[in-house]
C-alpha cells in the first residue's frame, strides 16, 4: 500500500488502480499468494477455497436499484470515519475484476479488500438484455398457473382482503416499473407467475441451492419484458366495506401479547446518526415475497437510547436471490447501533459481490470477515493498522464500541414452489421456519432447555467463527422463513404461547410491510428489547391472489 492517503481509503473510494493488491504489488486475490500467506500464519484459520470467476468473465455491475440502502451513502472525506454505508465504490477501468479471498488478521491489506467486497470497482455493466434474459413469455401453463400455488390460488382481479381498502403495492414491485406496465391503479393486483426468467451468472445448478429457473421458465427481471397493460381490471373496494374511521375501536391500540408493559412516551435517541424508532420494508420479486421490520425496544425508548438492531434485505436480480442480514448491536457497546448497521450492509454487499462473480455460493467466512473488518475500519477511521499489535488494539476497541450479532443469508425459489437457502450467524440472533403452525429454530442448539440460569452473554462481531458454519434450509411451498434478533426470539421461545400465536399469522404475508412492524411492536411485560424480523415466503402466498 502506498501513502496513508492511498491506503484503505484509496481502495474504498476506488481511487487506486491496484484495488486488491498487497504491499508488494502482487495480487492478493491470487489463490497461491493467499495460501502462502496463510501458511506463514498458522494461528489464522484457513478460509475455505475461493472459487475464481470463470476465465474471461467479468463481474457484473448491478443496476443501482439492486443495491442495499447503505450503498448510496456518500463516502467520507479522508481522515474522517467512514459513513454507515459499507465500502463499495467504483474504480477506474483497469482495476482488478476478480474477488479477493477473505483476509487474515496478519494481512491488513487483504482484510481491506475483503471488507470492501470483491472489486465492485471492476464490475462492469452487463450487456443490455443479458441480465434480464429472454423477453417475457408466459409459462407453459400461463401466467396464473405457472408457479405452484397450493392453498392460495390466484384470481385476477380478486380483492386483496375483504375488510378494508386495497393494500398499497410494495414500492419496488417489479411491475411498478416494468416498461409497458404502468399502473393507473396502485392497488390493483397483477397476475401471478408471469415474471420473466433467465439464466445469468448463477443460473447453473448449485450444490445445495436451487438455480433460478423461474416460475414459468422465464428470467427474473423488471427491466426488459413487458406485458399488455390493462390486462387486469382495476380493483375497487368491496361492496359494503367499512369506511376507515380514526375513532374505530382499537384502531390505534398496540397489539398486546399476555400482560402488557407500562405505557409511556418514548424519549428521543441521540440525533447523530439519525436512527428512526421503527422501519419497515417489503416487496415481492420473482418467486419470493419479503417483509422486514425493526422496532426500538421499550427499554431503549424509555431511556432515550437508539434502536441497536438493524436489518437489510435486497434482491440479486441476475441470480434470483434474496440476500438479507439482521443484526443486534450489543447493549454494552456504546455505539453498537452503528456496528449493527455496518455489519448488515457490509455482509449483504459482500454476498452480492460474490454472486456477481458467479460463485455458486458465497464464501460465508469471507462475508463474516468483511463485516468484522468494517467494524475495525470504523475504529481506525479507515486507516490500515500498521502491524498486528495495532490491529489487535483496533479489534478490541471495535468489540468495546461496535459489537453486534449478525445473521446473513440467501434464499431462492426451487423448482417445486418452495424456497431453499443458507444462513450464517455470529451471536444469538437466529432464524426459524414456520410450517404447519410450528416454529422450528434453524440454529437450535438446545442450550436454553437445560439452563437453570439464563444469560445474555453473546460472542459478537468483530469476533467470528473460522470457518463459518452455515446452515441450510428448505422451505416448502406453504412455509415461512423468519430471521430475527433475540428481541423476537426470546419472547417467541418455542412458539407455544401468546407470542407464537400472534406470529402464526405470518403463515402468509401481510399485504403491507407496515403490518409486520405493527405486529413486531407487540407489548408484553418484561420483553422490552429491540426487535427485528425478516419474513420470507414463496410469492404465491400473497394474500388474495395478489401478485
Amino acid at each position: 500500500m502506498g501513502t496513508p492517503e492511498q491506503g484503505w481509503w484509496g481502495v474504498l473510494l476506488g481511487l487506486l488502480p491496484h484495488g486488491g493488491r498487497k504491499r508488494d504489488g502482487s495480487a492478493a486475490w491470487e489463490e497461491g499468494v493467499w495460501r502462502a500467506s496463510e501458511e506463514r500464519s498458522p494461528q489464522v484459520p484457513h478460509p475455505p477455497s475461493h472459487p475464481s470467476p470463470p476465465p474471461g468473465r467479468e463481474p457484473r455491475t448491478p443496476p443501482e436499484d439492486r443495491r442495499p440502502s447503505g450503498r448510496g451513502l456518500p463516502g467520507p472525506a479522508r481522515g474522517e470515519r467512514p459513513a454507515l454505508g459499507p465500502a463499495r465504490h467504483p474504480a477506474p477501468a483497469g482495476a482488478p475484476t476478480t474477488g479477493a479471498p477473505p483476509p487474515g488478521p496478519e494481512d491488513p491489506a487483504a482484510w481491506a479488500d475483503a471488507a470492501t467486497g470483491p472489486p465492485e470497482p471492476g464490475r462492469v455493466p452487463a450487456p443490455s438484455g443479458e441480465a434480464t434474459g429472454a423477453p417475457w413469455a408466459p409459462g407453459p401453463t400461463g401466467p396464473e398457473t405457472g408457479r405452484p400455488g397450493p392453498g392460495t390460488p390466484g384470481r385476477p382481479g380478486h380483492l386483496p382482503g375483504s375488510d378494508g381498502p386495497p393494500p398499497a403495492q410494495p414500492a419496488t414491485d417489479p411491475w411498478a416499473t416494468a416498461p409497458g406496465n404502468r399502473r393507473t391503479d396502485p392497488g390493483r393486483p397483477g397476475p401471478r407467475g408471469d415474471l420473466p426468467g433467465s439464466g445469468g451468472p448463477g443460473a447453473a445448478a448449485r450444490e445445495g441451492l436451487p438455480a433460478w429457473d423461474g416460475p414459468a421458465g422465464g428470467a427474473p427481471s423488471g427491466a426488459g419484458p413487458s406485458r399488455p397493460s390493462g390486462a387486469v381490471p382495476p380493483v375497487r373496494p368491496p361492496a359494503g366495506a367499512e369506511p376507515w374511521e380514526p375513532s374505530g375501536p382499537g384502531r390505534w391500540e398496540r397489539i398486546v401479547a399476555g400482560r402488557p408493559t407500562a405505557v409511556f412516551e418514548a424519549k428521543p435517541p441521540p440525533s447523530d446518526p439519525y436512527r428512526p424508532d421503527t422501519f419497515c420494508d417489503g416487496w415481492s420479486a420473482a418467486g419470493l415475497t419479503v417483509r422486514l421490520a425493526s422496532v426500538r425496544g421499550d427499554a431503549h425508548r424509555h431511556a432515550g437510547v437508539p434502536r441497536q438492531d438493524d436489518g437489510v434485505v435486497t434482491w440479486h436480480r441476475a441470480t434470483g436471490t434474496v440476500v438479507f442480514a439482521v443484526a443486534d448491536g450489543v447493549s454494552s457497546a456504546v455505539t453498537s447501533h452503528v456496528g449493527s448497521t455496518l455489519a448488515c450492509r457490509t455482509a449483504v454487499n459482500d454476498v452480492l459481490a460474490q454472486l456477481d462473480l458467479g460463485r455458486p455460493e458465497p464464501d460465508w467466512t469471507r462475508v463474516l470477515a468483511a463485516a468484522a473488518f468494517q467494524l475495525v475500519m470504523r475504529i481506525t477511521g479507515g486507516r490500515q493498522p500498521d502491524d498486528a499489535e495495532e490491529m489487535a488494539a483496533a479489534r478490541q476497541a471495535a468489540s468495546r464500541d461496535l459489537a453486534t450479532t449478525l445473521v446473513a443469508g440467501i434464499a431462492r425459489v426451487d423448482g417445486s414452489g418452495g424456497v431453499r437457502g443458507r444462513l450464517v450467524r455470529v451471536g444469538d440472533s437466529s432464524a426459524w421456519t414456520l410450517e404447519d403452525g410450528r416454529f422450528r429454530e434453524l440454529f437450535a442448539d438446545g442450550e436454553e432447555d437445560d439452563e437453570l440460569i439464563s444469560t445474555s452473554h453473546v460472542r459478537p462481531l468483530p469476533w467470528y467463527p473460522q470457518p463459518a458454519e452455515p446452515v441450510s434450509f428448505r422451505l416448502p411451498p406453504l412455509g415461512t422463513l423468519l430471521v430475527g434478533t433475540d428481541g423476537f426470539g426470546v419472547p417467541l421461545g418455542g412458539g407455544t404461547g401468546p407470542v407464537g400465536e400472534l406470529f402464526r399469522v405470518l403463515r402468509e404475508p401481510p399485504a403491507r410491510p407496515g403490518v409486520l412492524a405493527d405486529l413486531l411492536d407487540f407489548s408484553r411485560e418484561t420483553f422490552d428489547d429491540d426487535r427485528t424480523l425478516l419474513a420470507l415466503w414463496p410469492r404465491h402466498r400473497l394474500p388474495g391472489g395478489l401478485s
Binding site: V330, I453, E525
Partner: protein, 225 residues
C-alpha cells in the same frame, strides 16, 4: 422449549439486624421506603425484579420473599437484635436461592443470575466458618444458581471481610471512615435502587445482568485492604 412468561432478576437484600444496628433501624426502614417508591416509578424495571428481604443476626429472618414490588402496599420493617452470624446467612441463601429459581422456572420465567445486596456493620461474631458456607454458595459448580453478591460494609467493618463476601472486587464497598452511618445507609439504599433499576432495564439487552451503581459515602473495599 416453552414460551417464557417473562424475564426476571431475583434480588435479595441481606441486611445485618444485629444489635449494633439498633441506632440505625430508622435509617434502614426509611431506605426501604425510598426503594419501594423509586421502583413504583419505574414499572418497567420493577416488572423484571422479584425482591426478597432477609434480615440476619444470630439467624436469618425472612421479611419478604420473591415479591413483585408493584403489588406491595408497603415493605416490611427491619429490626435489630442479637449477634452477627454470616454462616447462617450464607447457608440460608444456599438453600433459598436454588429453590426460588426453580419456583420461578416452574412458573415459566426465564431467570437471570440472582443478585444479593449484603449490608453489615461489623465482623461476624457468631456461628462457625462462614467462609466455607460462602464458598459453597458462590461456587457455580456446586450451586448452579449461585448469586452475584454485592457487599457493603459500614462503621467498624473490616474491608478485607467485605471484599471476601463480594463475588468480585468491583462489588465491594466500605463506608468512608468517620462518615455518619445514617448517611451511609441512605447511600446504600440509593445505590441499591439505582442498581436494581438499571439491572432491570438492561438485563435483556445483551449487557451484564447486574449493574452496580457506586454508592455515595463509600469507597471500593479493595482500596482499603
Amino acid at each position: 422449549m416453552r414460551e417464557a412468561e417473562g424475564q426476571l432478576l431475583p434480588v435479595y437484600l441481606l441486611a445485618d439486624e444485629s444489635g449494633s444496628m439498633d441506632e440505625y433501624v430508622g435509617n434502614l426502614n426509611a431506605g426501604m421506603r425510598s426503594l419501594h417508591m423509586a421502583l413504583l416509578r419505574e414499572p418497567m424495571a420493577a416488572a423484571k425484579i422479584r425482591f426478597s428481604v432477609l434480615g440476619f443476626a444470630n439467624s436469618v429472618t425472612e421479611r419478604l420473599a420473591l415479591a413483585d414490588l408493584r403489588d406491595e402496599a408497603e415493605l416490611p420493617r427491619l429490626s435489630a437484635y442479637g449477634g452477627t452470624n454470616y454462616e447462617a446467612a450464607f447457608d440460608d441463601l444456599r438453600t433459598r436461592i436454588p429453590r426460588d429459581v426453580r419456583t420461578l422456572k416452574a412458573q415459566g420465567y426465564r431467570v437471570h443470575r440472582p443478585a444479593v445486596f449484603f449490608l453489615s456493620d461489623g465482623l461476624p461474631n457468631n456461628g462457625g466458618d462462614w467462609r466455607e458456607a460462602h464458598r459453597r454458595l458462590t461456587d457455580r459448580a456446586q450451586t448452579p444458581a449461585a448469586p452475584n453478591i454485592v457487599s457493603f460494609g459500614i462503621g467498624s467493618v473490616d474491608a478485607a471481610t467485605v471484599l471476601a463476601v463480594a463475588t468480585g472486587p468491583d462489588y465491594a464497598y466500605v463506608s468512608v471512615p468517620g462518615a455518619d452511618l445514617g448517611n451511609c445507609i441512605a447511600g446504600f439504599f440509593s445505590s441499591l435502587t439505582k442498581s436494581v433499576v438499571e439491572s432491570g432495564n438492561s438485563m435483556v439487552a445483551g449487557a451484564p445482568t447486574l449493574t452496580v451503581a457506586p454508592p455515595e459515602g463509600f469507597v471500593m473495599a479493595i482500596d482499603e485492604v
